[in-house]
Symmetry: C2
Subunit: 184 residues, 2 copies
Amino acid sequence: MQTKNTTSFAILGALASRASSGYDLKKFLEQQIGHFWKISYGQVYPLLKVLAQANLASVKEQTQKGRPPRYLYKITPAGKSELRNWLHSPLDPESPNLDREVMLRLFFGRFSEANMRTRQVEQLKAWAQGRADQHAAAGKALKQQHESNPDLPFWLITASSGTAAAIALADWCDQTLTALKGLK
Amino acid sequence: MQTKNTTSFAILGALASRASSGYDLKKFLEQQIGHFWKISYGQVYPLLKVLAQANLASVKEQTQKGRPPRYLYKITPAGKSELRNWLHSPLDPESPNLDREVMLRLFFGRFSEANMRTRQVEQLKAWAQGRADQHAAAGKALKQQHESNPDLPFWLITASSGTAAAIALADWCDQTLTALKGLK
DNA sequence: ACTAACATGTAAGTAGTTACATGATTCT
DNA sequence: AGAATCATGTAACTACTTACATGTTAGT
């Protein structure tokens, strides 16, 4: 089974706060984390079955009049421990999507330990700063190596988007660290 | 043929500035736009063949001593017109990745018309502002609907990431609009 | 009368990643 | 001596999207 799939942790995390049907789950996740984590029915329904088979979630059928049955999924103790394991597992600084990974973990922050959350946001901040530096350096290199290239102004524009995004991310990390302090 | 694949336009665009081998291409795109557009050999080599078959690119084999032959791809007139078509095609404001789409188009901005580029960045800015508003509203709704929910602080943190990213994007659009003015 | 929401699910397709195979050459 | 670069390619896999099928009920 691929319980390694990060989306299955997103589902598991959502189930940790509230028992849900696939329909509920998709709507909830779409609304709350849809801006950085996509989910579709084509994923949710099969993954819920996988989670249930792996005993990380339990199912109860709720029959309804005139409507198809609703399957209510609940997280099991094994599921909670699997979720916590994931939340506390080390970050891979090589991951191209470290930002999305950390944000997803933070969304389920209620189930992780305060010092772990803080450490991971700090790691993300360092990663973002590193990226900002890299992009700044890449911009300088572009200017020198392609001085008279008619593409240069456009290439610089996209390079600047990298720098801007990285700086914005680092700033958000700062704000988040402050917010997290208030929760101890 | 799926010449609709956006990555194939990324390749076509890169070929518009410089004839390249698959190896070159991957290195170049990875370095320049890797932060928002991923490419791998598993995509590049097959897509180059598709482009060549569709007559959007031509190939020349360059035999080398001791090394595997190098295939040099050049964009054809048909390819250039296909590229321009794409660059000038209307943006889909429903696209969840409008930012990446516009950035990619801008990277190849040399091949599009100035007023089109500007219009698309303006559209992106409006899109970003709309998102910022949506996230701000969603944050307020969260506070009211989940007042005593222990998940609330964490949910607010991820919501704030959406707002922050959207605002940063809108700011970058402003800077970019200024930069584009200087190119007329 | 119609539209949206409720509710499940799957089949087919698209996109992309990872890992392997091959092997000389140039740099450290 | 060993690592990195040059250079191509594919097979298997993973992840995800889109579109369809089905049908009621509640709201406008």
